[in-house]
């Protein structure tokens, strides 16, 4: 080889610097990835991280170099401190993901090379995925998929050796071209994604456990009730579960979804007792005609309760039924579940227990709420029986109490007294707490039951949506010979809350702005999509995969069949995707210089001088000049200038010259009508 080595250009040795266009694209993709976490990230942290991104962009205007070490180091410490104080230890799920997000943001601060930018994008793919640890909704999935495609488009811009146009900052067209081609590639990959999703063999059992401690949980019903807790939920319209009944939907007043049963009162809060005996040891009789079968599609509540209709006949899958009628799962529900259940709405529950066994349901802390205790003691002294005492309490509520969504705060240690004698206005939890307290004080065994009431009937899908805002608390009293009887003191105050089902139907003032409006039909349809998504996509697992070919008469699809199907259909999908996307890469470039050059070619074609495929611009213009001597000078000049701007790297970046040449090419007319004649 005789050609000697030319000195190595810097590009190969030093990292390739990232331009402001690429940095802006990175910032946008990072921002979009962080917004996928906006649902759970504390607002202070979210705002802080977005501010950092904005400051990094502002810095880029000021200097092409990254901020110095003495700025980055304190920023690093401050960010970590903020993550720790806002979200908590990085060992938990929330803390870990928040730390990842913060580190990615800090990475943007120190990104100045293409290599850094690419690493950031790689991290963003993972970061976007962690959003699904918090929510698996259809909308979030769409958004994260869009973020991933944008990240790939950003990779297209992060070329190590950008051509002249990208360097010259032809920003808009470059970004558009990258977005267009990446979107097309994504569309081409879509069949492959679907095939892989359906046929890729799933694990029946996880290889390792959940990576986080779900004890922190999200808002919702828990194993404790204190005044003001449930009333916080009425604005939260997150669906908790959706129910479709096999037959008729029971009447709204029967739709009590039984959750945690709280039978301990410490003077401030109601908590779960230790009634951990099994339900089937309890005397339970029901009217067979009142049995309903239904399917519950439960969201990931991160807690251990199923919410069966009051009262379930037996424990559903992966749960046990306790003697107080709560259905508790073995592990926290961290992924949406589909459960079949059966309940009876008319029943007798624990009717033949001895009164001595009910001592636990009479316990009250000695010195709490003396006035309420005196009131209830008075009823008993008047010689009332259990039923009359219940009536007395309900009548009291009915006559002088009212129901509100925004109850005034109460002193924690004498909440019942304050509610009964001072404020006299409250939410369901106040009524059930006070009622249960009065019953116990009067010697009637009683306990608090929490759960949901009613639900919203989705007209488009014929199923019931139960949301956090439907959270409810009621009471149960035990009467010898009759067993536990549900008493809902709220019904004495606000009967419409019980009869109407959804809280939004019962209390129009509870509705958020978008409920009960012209948007309702759309919201209903959207909920149908969400439900479909839950059932078909989110709940798809090893079991369903085995039943995949059920409609083709194959009961159990085995692993090797799945792999075979995956390979065959995957190859077909890939081949189609590649063929389709490569075909789409064709067509004419949108480079304005080329467009103008083609215009020039068309003009010459009119005079019968078509460009041969073998001909470069110079040869072509020479031939054209020979055949059209009248315009020879202009043609030759245009051909030379085009070749110069197009193929000489030194001139290609000269945008001014490009624009001038584009104008000249566009003005060129090969027709015999010269410009002079028009003057």
């Amino acid at each position: 080889m005789s050609t000697a080595t030319v000195s190595k250009p810097q590009a190969a040795a030093a990292p390739v610097a990232v331009g402001s266009l690429q940095l802006r694209a990175l910032a946008v993709v990072l921002f979009a990835a962080i917004t996928a976490h906006a649902g759970w990230l504390p607002w202070t942290l979210l705002g802080y991280l977005i501010a950092i991104i904005a400051l990094r962009l502002a810095w880029q205007r000021y200097s092409a170099r990254v901020p110095a070490q003495w700025i980055r180091l304190p920023l690093f410490v401050l960010t970590l401190a903020l993550v720790y104080s806002n979200v908590g230890s990085p060992v938990s799920r929330d803390g870990g993901v928040a730390l990842l997000i913060a580190l990615a943001t800090l990475k943007l601060v120190e990104t100045d090379s293409v290599r850094d930018g690419r690493m950031l994008i790689a991290a963003l793919f993972f970061l976007s995925m962690t959003a699904f640890l918090f929510s698996q909704s259809a909308l979030l999935t769409l958004w994260v998929a869009a973020v991933a495609v944008a990240a790939f488009a950003c990779l297209t811009l992060l070329r190590k050796y950008p051509d002249a146009r990208l360097l010259a900052g032809a920003a808009r067209s470059e970004v558009l071209a990258a977005a267009r081609s990446t979107a097309r590639t994504a569309a081409a990959a879509l069949p492959l994604v679907v095939v892989a999703f359906v046929f890729f063999p799933r694990l029946g059992q996880p290889l390792w456990g959940a990576p986080w401690d779900p004890s922190q949980g999200r808002t919702g019903i828990g194993d404790e009730m204190r005044p003001g807790m449930l009333s916080k939920l009425w604005q939260d319209d997150t669906p908790v579960f959706r129910v479709s009944f096999d037959g008729e939907t029971p009447a709204a007043r029967d739709l009590y979804w039984r959750g945690p049963v709280l039978d301990r009162f410490d003077g401030q809060a109601w908590t779960r007792g230790d009634a951990f005996d099994r339900f089937d040891r309890i005397d339970f009789r029901y009217e067979p005609s009142s049995v309903v079968s239904y399917e519950v599609l439960l969201e990931a509540t991160e807690r251990v309760w199923y919410f069966p209709l009051d009262l379930p006949l037996r424990a559903a899958a992966k749960s046990r039924l306790l003697m107080d009628g709560q259905m508790v799962t073995f592990r926290p529900i961290i992924a949406p579940r589909n459960v079949r259940m059966q309940s009876a709405t008319r029943f007798s529950f624990d009717a033949n227990a001895r009164p001595a066994e009910m001592a636990f349901a009479l316990r009250l802390p000695a010195a709490s709420n003396p006035r309420a205790r005196a009131l209830a003691g008075g009823w008993r002294e008047q010689g009332m029986n259990d039923a009359q005492i219940i009536d007395a309490a309900l009548t009291l509520f009915n006559q002088s109490f009212s129901y509100t969504l925004e109850p005034p705060p109460l002193a924690p240690d004498r909440s019942v007294d304050e509610f009964l004698f001072d404020t006299r206005i409250g939410y369901c939890e106040h009524f059930s707490s006070a009622f249960t307290f009065l019953m116990r004080a009067a010697g009637v065994p009683a306990r608090v039951v929490t759960g949901y009431l009613g639900g919203y009937r989705n007209a488009s899908g014929n199923y019931l949506v139960v949301r956090n805002s439907d959270a409810h608390a009621w009471s149960e009293v035990w009467i010898a010979g009759r067993g536990w009887i549900r008493v809902d003191p709220t019904s004495a105050v606000a009967p419409e809350r019980i009869d109407r089902g959804s809280i939004y139907d019962a209390l129009p003032e509870a509705a958020l702005w978008y409920q009960n409006s012209w948007l309702t039909p759309f919201m209903d349809r959207f909920d149908v999509v969400s439900r479909w998504w839950r059932q078909r996509v989110v709940d798809f697992d090893a079991q369903r995969q085995r039943n995949l070919l059920g409609s083709f008469g194959v009961e159990d699809t085995e692993l090797k069949d799945l792999v075979l199907l995956l390979i065959i259909s995957g190859s077909a999908a890939l081949a189609f995707g590649i063929w389709w996307s490569l075909r789409g890469l064709g067509g004419h470039s949108r480079d304005p210089l080329l467009v103008a050059w083609r215009h020039f070619g068309r003009q010459l074609e009119r005079r019968g001088i078509a460009r041969g495929h073998h001909e470069g611009p110079i040869d072509y213009s020479r031939r054209a000049a020979r055949q059209l001597p009248s315009a020879a000078g202009e043609i030759l000049q245009l051909g030379r200038d085009f070749a110069q701007l197009r193929y000489n790297p030194e001139h290609a970046a000269d945008e001014e010259a490009q624009r001038a040449l584009i104008r000249r090419l566009r003005r060129f007319r090969a027709s015999p009508r010269p410009a002079a004649r028009r003057r």
Binding site: M1, T3, A4, T5, V6, P9, A12, R118, M119, A122, A123, F125, S128, M129, Q136, T141, V144, A148, V149, F152, L155, T156, R159, K160, Y161, P162, D163, S181, T182, A189, L190, L192, A196, F197, R202, L203, P206, L207, W208, I334, A335, V537, F540, A542, I578, S581, L585, G586, H588, H613, H614, E615, G616, R622, R626, S630, A632, G633, A643, Y647
Partner: protein
């Protein structure tokens, strides 16, 4: 670590080329045009591509383990997009042909430009291509159905026929996860002209009959019309005559032999062989700049008298090919 690895890789590559001609045939010189088909395009992940692969694998494992289906969808989307893009990266090169390699008067000892004519024939834009040889990297874009002229710089050391060497055409477009490459090693050599002497003395004046006559003015001794050729000065174009015919014509002038200078190899006896060639080359170039006509006397033959770029090129060619 890098130089060690590179040298090992290079050594291995050279060994393979010697021992496995069938396997390495696409690295060896071959006649033009060189058409890049799928079997001669190689593809490997980049360093970033490996990091990307590890991350996608982690995503897949995590999503499968927790049976988190939206996460699994995302992992499939990311890996599916990457897999489709591998074919786009190969498609970047597939269907390109190297039509010709030419150089405009490369002289030994000074930087010269060779122009690769690369033709796109499948109607697809090929952005972010890279033509590379030993550290020289030229990024360019190939438009759909166009032929791009890519100028590379090289430093020829000797005069005579020489190969342009093996070049690598590669691309990691679109995502930089994998890079695809192919070798362009054209057999057709390029003629390297001799190195002109740096500080050559003035043109030999003594042989001229009429000093100062080399500044010929247009209109003198008009001899006829001929077709326009590359390099003809525009002021020689016969515009009126051209307008009448459909070709571009130039005026030609008669050049009396007596007016020509003589550049004689034998008269430069004080210099040795290569130095004489070098000086003659410098004179030829000077004469061309002065648009003078001259005669070139070489040991093997006599050229001219004549003028113009064609004649100069012929003289340079003969000088380059002197033994």
């Amino acid at each position: 670590m890098a130089p060690e690895a590179a040298s090992w890789g290079d050594r291995l590559g050279r060994l393979a080329e010697r021992r496995l001609p069938a396997l390495t045939r696409h690295r060896q010189a071959e006649p033009l045009p060189i058409h890049l088909h799928a079997r001669r395009i190689y593809i490997l992940p980049t360093r970033f591509g490996m990091v990307f692969g590890v991350i996608v694998l982690a995503m897949l494992m995590g999503a499968l383990n927790f049976n988190n289906n939206p996460a699994l969808l995302l992992a499939f989307l990311v890996s599916g997009l990457a897999i489709v893009s591998f074919h786009h990266t190969v498609g970047q090169l597939r269907g390109i042909s190297l039509v010709s390699v030419s150089a405009a008067r490369p002289h030994a000892g000074s930087r010269a430009h060779a122009v690769f004519s690369l033709k796109e024939g499948s109607g697809r834009v090929r952005p972010a291509l890279m033509l590379e040889q030993s550290g020289q990297e030229i990024p360019f874009t190939l438009a759909a159905d166009e032929t791009a002229m890519v100028a590379v710089e090289f430093l020829p050391v000797r005069r005579g026929w020489q190969s342009i060497g093996r070049w690598r055409l590669w691309s990691e477009y679109p995502f930089g996860i994998v890079w695809a490459w192919s070798y362009l090693h054209p057999q057709e050599p390029i003629l390297i002209y001799p190195k002109p002497e740096a500080a050559a003395p003035d043109l030999p004046q003594d042989d001229r009959d009429r000093p100062g006559a080399q500044q010929r003015s247009p209109g003198d001794d008009w001899a006829g019309l001929r077709d326009h050729r590359a390099g003809d000065p525009p002021r020689h174009v016969a515009w009126k005559a051209s307008a009448r015919s459909d070709r571009l014509l130039v005026k030609e002038f008669a050049d009396p032999i007596s007016e020509a200078m003589v550049f004689d190899y034998h008269q430069l006896a004080r210099l040795h062989h290569e130095q004489r060639i070098s000086r003659l080359t410098a004179w030829v170039l000077k004469a061309e700049r002065a648009q003078a006509s001259f005669r070139l006397v070489l040991p093997t033959q006599q050229l001219g008298p004549a003028a113009g770029s064609d004649f100069v090129s012929r003289c340079l060619r003969e000088l380059a090919l002197l033994p």
